[in-house]
């Protein structure tokens, strides 16, 4: 096994990897920017090295610096985590050139699957379903015939497009000719190129992805799917496994297809094949992520497989210790990403200092976090603070458990999305499981703080203000004991948040 690995990342994922390495008996080396000197990952690692200024382009993205630290500290492996250098094929190659293992797939696999165009081509040869559409631009004479074949509703998109220009949604054939004309003229004006292509429009799409694991001996397995349809700004907020919208038959088919695709590029390590799925369970390949995914814990919870440890073991050359038929799933897991952002203000990040944090506990609760009292949320990095994960025997009880766990979570100092998550877990549409990527857009009321909550907050602040002026001391008196406190609470009606 590796003797010592470097973790080329920060935040909760660096902490997650350090924990896995420690449990495998591997020494760990953290790297940190000036902004992260007091971080949890620095504190938990056996060794830590500063790699530069806060901006990622001057620290976490500088492969050269990271490799030179790894050499200096005599590391035999580098785990890239997610984001930063994790999908950078040149970095993976440079690690190997410097005789340090890149804990992830081969540079070749990253290159092939990381590129949207080549990955689509590979998917095509592996007979992975793609959103039906024309392969390239269409000419006016054949357009109507092709549209009929693709089926309605469909999208006409400018080949040179972007920003919604030259894009038309067509519901039925009678609208087609006119829409085509308009899309082309818009494209011509915007990009000086009137080439367009046609694609099926997926209504109320769900984001479903398959977790895969491969070793260097050619074995690849899948660990079932995750549903990640609750998104804002095209980024996931809540994920769950299994998906409430995927039948056993589709699950099996998706899993097999993902494995087939991974085998095409001799994939090793952890990876995710992402699909877009309509409400009738037709699914189409979106892209592949050649790294550990933020939401990997929910798969760990339902399969009992430690994905990060497996990544390290297969990278070292171990064969996967299980076969597809050995993998079973049990129960239901949900993850909520706790972010420093204001849901009522377009989810804008809310930098600041966290005075006080208290994370939930109790059965079936896992909090993958890098928070502590005094943690500074900066604008240099992602606003995600922690991932709250729960497991329970079925979806309904998992939602209730998440709701309970969220009610115990306290983050004081910056606005977070916790209140939104609390309300989401209580929403009847979320509970019913009818999800699509437009869910948040359709449930904007969840972004607002209920009036009764603001009233409670105001009353409590009123007392604080009054006491603060020195009229009355709120400090517990010396005769106060926790037993008295418990008795007091028991004496009032039970309608509390705990």
């Amino acid at each position: 096994m590796y003797k010592k690995i470097l973790i080329a990342n920060r935040g909760e994922i660096a902490v997650r990897i350090i924990r896995a390495a420690k449990e495998l008996g591997i020494k760990t080396v953290a790297v940190y920017s000036d902004a992260d000197k007091n971080s949890l990952h620095v504190n938990l690692a056996d060794q830590a090295f500063n790699i530069g200024k806060p901006l990622p382009s001057e620290s976490y993205l500088v492969g050269k610096k990271i490799i030179s630290v790894a050499k200096k500290a005599k590391c035999d492996g580098i785990h890239p985590g997610y984001g930063f250098l994790s999908e950078n094929a040149d970095f993976a190659e440079n690690c190997i050139k410097n005789k340090i293992d890149f804990i992830g797939p081969s540079a070749e696999a990253i290159r092939l699957m990381g590129d949207k165009i080549t990955s689509r081509e590979i998917a095509k040869t592996a007979k992975v379903p793609l959103v039906p559409g024309t392969d390239g631009e269409v000419n006016d004479n054949e357009a109507l015939g092709l549209a009929k074949k693709i089926g309605y509703p469909l999208m006409i998109k400018a080949s040179a497009g972007g920003g919604g220009k030259g894009m038309r949604l067509v519901h039925e054939e009678s609208e087609f000719e006119n829409s085509l004309k308009m899309a082309k003229s818009e494209a011509k004006n915007a990009f000086n190129n009137d080439a367009v292509f046609i694609e099926r429009f997926i209504q109320e799409p769900r984001h479903i992805e398959i977790q895969i694991l491969g070793d260097k001996k050619g074995n690849v397995v899948h660990l079932f799917e995750r549903e990640c349809s609750i998104q804002r700004r095209h980024q996931k907020v809540v994920e769950e496994a299994p998906s409430p919208g995927v039948s056993e038959k589709t699950r099996k088919k998706m899993g097999e297809i993902a494995v087939k695709l991974a085998k095409k590029v001799s994939y090793s390590g952890a990876g995710t094949v992402e699909f877009i799925m309509d409400q009738k369970e037709n699914f189409y390949f979106l892209e592949m992520n050649t790294r550990v995914q933020v939401e990997h814990p929910i798969t760990e919870m339902i399969t009992g497989i430690d994905i990060v440890k497996e990544m390290i073991k297969v990278s070292y050359g171990h064969e996967l210790s299980f076969k597809q038929k050995d993998i079973e799933r049990k129960g239901h897991a949900i993850e909520c990403r706790v972010c420093a952002e204001d849901p009522d203000n377009n989810f804008l990040p809310t930098p600041g200092t966290i005075f006080y944090v208290k994370s939930p506990q109790g059965p079936g609760v896992r909090d993958d976090s890098s928070l502590f009292n005094g943690y500074k949320v900066t604008t240099f990095y992602d606003p995600m603070l922690s991932k709250l994960i729960v497991w329970s025997e079925d979806r309904d009880s998992a939602i209730k458990r998440m709701s309970r766990a969220l009610s115990e979570y306290i983050v004081l100092g910056v606005k977070t999305n916790l209140g939104f998550l609390v309300r989401l877990m209580d929403d009847k549409d979320f509970i019913s499981g009818k999800l699509d990527t437009g869910f948040i857009e359709k449930h904007k009321k969840l972004l607002k703080i209920p009036k009764e909550n603001s009233n409670i907050a105001t009353i409590a602040s009123a007392i604080m203000l009054h006491a603060g002026i020195g009229v009355k001391n709120l400090e517990r008196d010396p005769k106060f004991t926790p037993w008295k406190y418990i008795a007091r609470r028991a004496s009032v009606s039970r309608n509390s948040m705990f």
Partner: protein, 166 residues
């Protein structure tokens, strides 16, 4: 005793009297009985009309940050000037530039009726667009900028006046 607190630029007024171990509070003409007890550094047990809650509070200078049911409420203890005849209790919301910037879009015209929380103007500052919202229900009575205008910090943009003002 009468008090004011400021949240989201809006003044909340309430009356508070001590009553036994706790307090009697009148807010929005409704009466509440409440107690607040510190249990740990920032943690408080809050009992209000028979229900118990755990609340986290940080008080620093003129600011009270309060965490409840997942949401953060930031209150400001208003300065002397804000007390009594404040802009909002008088039914007038004068919207001004929160930082130097530019008017991107006026969402309303003079005479338009707006509701509390409704966006009235989009301004751009530090390359970011943000919508300024009115804190009262009312009618737009004047607009002193046009789209494209640059704004100094605190520059007056428009006025909303409450319609049920005497």
């Amino acid at each position: 005793m009468k008090y004011n607190l400021k949240i989201n630029k809006k003044i909340v007024s309430f009356e508070l009297e001590e009553e036994g171990n706790g307090y009697k509070i009148v807010l929005d003409k409704k009466k509440y009985s409440a107690e607040l007890v510190k249990i740990d550094s920032n943690l408080y047990s809050f009992i209000c009309d028979g229900s118990t809650y755990t609340i986290a509070i940080q008080k620093e200078g003129k600011r009270i940050d309060l965490f409840f049911k997942g949401d953060l409420f930031s209150y400001e203890i208003p300065s002397q000037r804000d007390k009594g005849g404040t802009e909002n209790t008088s039914g007038i919301d004068k919207i001004s530039a929160p930082m130097p910037g530019r008017v991107v879009k006026l969402l309303k015209e003079v005479g338009d009726i707006v509701l509390e929380g409704e966006g009235v103007v989009v301004v751009e500052a530090m390359k970011m667009e943000s919508e300024l919202k009115t804190t009262i229900d009312g009618k737009i009575t004047d607009i002193s900028v046009k789209e494209g205008d640059t704004l100094d910090l605190g520059a007056h943009i428009l006025t909303v006046e409450s319609q049920d003002k005497k």
